[in-house]
Symmetry: C2
Subunit: 347 residues, 2 copies
C-alpha cells in the first residue's frame, strides 16, 4: 500500500505528490501551519486525504499549545482550526475533519488540557484508520457495477494517494480487480496538475492493474467509439441534491458519458457529502495560480505574459450521475432522500 | 503576418512549429523527402498548410528529376507524389494538393519537361497565394456569425500557422476583430502537442487580440457557466455529409456546445471537403507516437513504461455543427447538398 500520510514520531509525514512519480520524497510537518501549507501547495491532495491531513495537523496543533488552562486551550485551538480551514475551499472533507476534531472538545467537557491533547491525537488516528476501512467498503459496494472485461475511465486521482489508502474511485477499481474481474483502466492525464498521468498511472502500475494513459481531450472520442464501459470518479464535495464538485474536467466527462450512454458513477465517503449545501451552485470553486496552466511540471508551455484561467474544480449536475458510491452502499436518484438517509444512519 | 512557409531561393523554408513560441527557427527543405519528413514530424501542421507544403515539395521534386524524357519524368514524379501522400493520413488538403499538382501534367500534355518544371513551380506559387486569399474570404463570411463582445472558444491552431497565412478559424476571429468587434478568445491548450498554448496564444498575442489560455478540460465548465458565446474550429477533413475530422478533443467540444446551446462552427477551405468520403466514419484517423502523451515538450509527465494511446484526430458528426464556413460562404444543413453545390461551383 502506498503511504500517503502517517505519523513519524510526533510529526506528520506525507509523500510529496508534487514530485511523484519521478521522485519518492517525503515532507515532514512539525507544525499545523506546515500542514496548511502542504495542503495548499498540494503536497497532499484528494478530498479524503486532505481531511485526514487536517485532523492530524490539528492533533499536532493541540499538542503544541502551551497552557494548562482549558479555556485558553480552547481559544487557541479554535484559531488553529480557522487557519486549517483556510487551506483550500472546495473539499468538504477538510471542514468535516475540523468539525470532528472540535467535537472531541465538546464531547469531553471535563477533560484536562493534557487529556484533550491525547484525545485529539486518538481521534486523528481513528480518522486515519477509518478512512482506509471506508474506502474498502466503497470498493466492496462499487465493484458490483463494474462489468467483467470493462474498460473503466477515471479522471484525476481518486486513489490510495487521494486517501489514507486504497482509494475511492480506484478503490472500486481495486475491488473489482481483487474479485477477479478482467478490467483495464483509461487514465485521463488531468491537466494542469497531471494527477492522472503522475499518480493514477503510477498507482495502478504498482498494483499491476492494466492502465492506459490518454490526454483529457481523448476521453469523449473513446466513448463515441464504444471503448469505455464505465466511468468512476471521486468527488471533492457532494451537495444535498447529489450535484458534485470534482476536479476540473469531470463535468465534461459526465456530459459525454450521457451522450454516449456510458454509466457515470461517483465514489466518495459520506464525509464528502455536505447536506448544508443545497445544490452544486453553492459549492465554492477554487481558482488556482494561472501559472499551473501556462506551465507543465514547471516548464513553460505558452508564450510569456499570456493570460490564463485556472478553476481547479467544476460542478456536475446530479442528472448526469448514475449513482454515488459511499461506504453505506450506492445512493441512487432521488439523491436528496438517499444521501440524507445515509448521512443520518452514519451519525 | 507570420511566415508559415515560403520559398528561399529554390528551397522551401518553414518556421519550425515544434519550437514555437520559445524559439523562432526555420527548417530549410532542399528535397521533397525533407518536406515529407517536416510534415510527418509536424515542423509544419494544419490541413491548409500541409497542402501548400506538399505542393511546394512536389515543385521541388519535379525540379530535381534528371531527365528530358517526358514519360520518364511522369513516372518519377508519380513516385514523388506517392511518398508525399504517405506523410500524414487525415488532412484531405494533402491529397487535394497532390492531385492539383498532378493535374498540371494532365493539363499540359504537350509541354516539355523543362516547361513542366516551371508550370509545377507556378502552380505551387499559386496555391500558396490562393490559400491566403481563401482564408480572407472565410474570415469575411465567418465574422458575420461572431457577436460583438463575444468570447470565442477555439481548439488547436487553425490560424496563420496552420495555413499560408491569416488562418481559418482564427481568420474568422481576425476578420471579426478587424471590423471592430470587441471579442476575446479562449484558447484550449490542446494536449498533447500544445498547438493552442504554443501557437494560437502566440499568434493572437502578436496581433494584440485578447486571448486567455485554458486546459482542454476547462472548456465544458466555462460553457456551462455561460462564458462562451461561440466556438470556431478548423478541420482536417470534411466528409460529403458534413461530418468533420479535426484535432482530438473537437468532438467533445461539439457535444458540450450542444448541451450548453453554444453555436459550434467549423471554418475550412473547400480543399478540405472530400466528397469521395460519404461520412466521418470513413475518414482515416492517424494514431501518433504514444510518447507525445507520456511527455510534454519532451519532458516526461508519466511513470516510465506506462501505456498510452494517441489518436491525433476525432470525428464530429454533422448534427453538432451549426455551419461550415468556407471561402464561398457558410454551408448549412443539409450539408450534403450545400457542400456539393459549393464544390461544384468552385471547380
Amino acid at each position: 500500500m502506498i503511504p500517503t500520510i502517517d505519523w513519524q514520531d510526533d510529526h506528520v509525514v506525507m509523500i510529496d505528490q508534487r514530485k511523484l512519480p519521478f521522485k519518492e520524497s517525503y515532507v515532514v510537518c512539525k507544525t499545523p501551519a506546515q500542514v496548511v501549507e502542504a495542503i495548499r501547495k498540494m503536497v497532499i491532495r484528494g478530498a479524503p486525504a486532505i481531511g485526514v491531513a487536517a485532523a492530524m495537523g490539528l492533533a499536532l496543533g493541540g499538542r503544541r499549545i502551551k497552557t494548562k488552562n482549558r479555556a485558553t486551550f480552547e481559544r487557541q485551538f479554535q484559531r488553529v482550526c480557522e487557519k486549517m480551514a483556510s487551506a483550500r475551499p472546495t473539499a468538504s472533507n477538510l471542514f468535516w475533519a475540523i468539525e470532528s476534531m472540535v467535537e472531541v472538545l465538546r464531547e469531553h467537557p471535563q477533560a484536562s488540557v493534557e487529556e484533550l491533547k491525547d484525545l485529539l491525537r486518538r481521534k486523528a488516528d481513528h480518522l486515519l484508520a477509518e478512512d482506509q476501512a471506508i474506502n474498502k467498503a466503497i470498493g466492496h459496494h462499487g465493484q458490483t457495477v463494474v462489468p467483467d472485461r470493462a474498460t473503466v475511465l477515471t479522471h484525476c486521482n481518486a486513489g490510495a494517494l487521494a486517501t489514507a489508502g486504497y482509494g475511492t474511485a480506484l478503490g472500486v477499481v481495486r475491488a473489482a480487480w481483487e474479485v477477479g474481474k478482467n478490467i483495464r483502466v483509461l487514465a485521463d492525464e488531468t491537466r494542469p496538475f497531471l494527477q492522472g498521468s503522475r499518480l493514477t498511472a503510477w498507482e495502478l502500475q504498482q498494483d499491476n492493474i492494466p492502465v492506459t494513459l490518454i490526454t483529457d481531450s481523448m476521453a469523449g472520442y473513446l466513448m463515441s467509439e464504444g471503448k469505455v464501459q464505465l466511468i468512476v470518479v471521486g468527488a471533492d464535495r457532494v451537495a444535498a441534491n447529489g450535484d458534485i464538485a470534482n476536479k476540473i474536467g469531470t463535468y465534461s466527462l459526465a456530459v459525454l458519458a450521457k451522450e454516449n450512454k456510458v454509466p457515470f458513477y461517483v465514489a466518495a465517503p459520506l464525509s464528502t457529502v455536505d447536506l448544508s449545501v443545497a445544490t452544486g451552485k453553492d459549492i465554492p470553486i477554487e481558482e488556482r495560480d494561472p501559472r499551473e496552466v501556462t506551465h507543465s511540471l514547471g516548464h513553460a508551455i505558452a508564450p510569456p505574459g499570456v493570460n490564463a484561467w485556472n478553476p481547479a474544480f467544476d460542478v456536475t449536475p446530479n442528472r448526469f450521475i448514475a449513482g454515488i458510491i459511499t461506504e453505506k452502499g450506492i445512493a441512487r436518484k432521488p439523491y436528496k432522500k438517499a444521501l440524507k438517509a445515509m448521512k443520518t444512519q452514519s451519525v
